[in-house]
């Protein structure tokens, strides 16, 4: 891979691992409120494994890097979020044309593939108070921004704002999938931990992309 792509891949991995590590305790606290309290620790372990494999991943073409990163999350995260985030990345890597360069349109296509895999793996959809409630609106915003031909900075701001609003919107939802669904109405009023980790990752990825464009 060209040097700038390698640098970008490494920067993305570092930024995702950093935000998960920095927020692990908060993710765990959110999960303790409506789940089994393992989301922070599980995600931290998985993204630490990605960080360890960063050099190896950065040397691969994007399709293979995403596949390998997804497999790593599947094997290392442990909870249901391992297969879910893992399937997301693996499916993104299978998107046609991933190795020919990624613009906003292709990124939207990748996220669409990833979301379809998360829905299938989790037997879930929007409205169940899960990571899909953040990923799906973020994808819609990405598609819109790509169609509008938005510049990187505008696109990043729009995606981050969408992710913030979407994560917040999981609060009044009643969980119907995942461990929180056992709580029924008691799941109402709490942020979904999976939605929150998806929000954090959206921010991290957007910030790296804007930073790289400016570099």
């Amino acid at each position: 891979m060209p040097q700038d792509m390698k640098r970008l891949a490494r920067a993305l991995i570092e930024a995702c691992a950093d935000t998960i590590a920095a927020n692990a305790d908060r993710l765990t606290a959110l999960d303790q409120a409506i789940g089994d309290g393992d989301h922070g620790a599980n995600m931290k372990r998985g993204f630490a494994a990605l960080r360890e494999a960063a050099d190896e991943l950065a040397a691969l073409p994007p399709s293979e890097a995403l596949k390998k990163a997804g497999m790593t999350l599947v094997m290392k995260v442990g909870g249901a979020s391992g297969p879910l985030y893992g399937s997301l990345l693996m499916a993104m890597g299978k998107t046609p044309g991933v190795d020919d360069g990624v613009d906003a349109t292709r990124a939207a296509a990748m996220l669409a593939e990833g979301i379809a895999a998360v829905k299938a793996r989790g037997k879930s959809d929007v409205g169940a108070k899960t990571m899909l409630d953040v990923l799906v609106p973020v994808h819609a915003a990405l598609e819109r921004a790509a169609a509008d031909g938005a510049d990187a900075k505008t696109l990043a701001e729009q995606l981050k704002a969408t992710a913030d609003a979407a994560a917040e919107a999981t609060k009044p939802m009643r969980a119907t999938r995942g461990r929180a669904s056992f709580l029924g109405d008691r799941s109402i009023g709490h942020l979904d931990p999976g939605g929150e980790s998806s929000r954090l990752l959206t921010h991290a990825i957007c910030d790296v992309l804007v930073g790289e464009m400016a570099a």
Partner: protein, 129 residues
């Protein structure tokens, strides 16, 4: 009736629950291979794809393997393990939609008779209906 018996894998978030359930199922299971895969990779509560994949290999039988699991993540990780094993998706390996303990005991009892994977599945899943 085949001479090969369906193998069982018991997946729980707790290693102790998986071990205990496998122990109860063995009481009924005669020479059925029953392998427990409980807890996460570090021995804590959770489920672990690698552990489940290894358990499937140990329980492997030409008659097939039936997986019993407790909660959402155990099921998601079991389905992931089946897929990561490769080959035809789910060929000869099924996740039973049955309560863990009751399902495991019934599945073991039925598997011990030399019943097919479908018969084992039907008997265990009847528990949940």
């Amino acid at each position: 009736m085949s001479t090969h018996k369906v193998g069982l894998v018991i997946v729980s978030h707790s290693a102790e629950v998986a071990r205990g359930t496998a122990e109860m199922a063995r009481q009924m299971g005669g020479d059925v291979t029953i392998v427990d895969a409980g807890g996460d990779a570090e021995g804590g509560l959770g489920s672990d794809v690698a552990k489940i994949m290894a358990a499937i290999e140990k329980a492997w039988s030409p008659a097939g393997v039936a997986i019993l699991c407790d909660l959402g993540g155990a099921e998601t990780n079991s389905e992931m393990a089946i897929e990561m094993r490769g080959g035809d998706p789910g060929a000869g390996i099924v996740v039973l939609k049955a309560p863990l303990v009751e399902g495991a005991v019934v599945a073991a009892a039925v598997a011990a008779t030399g019943a097919s994977l479908e018969e084992v599945r039907a008997a265990a899943e009847e528990m949940a209906s």
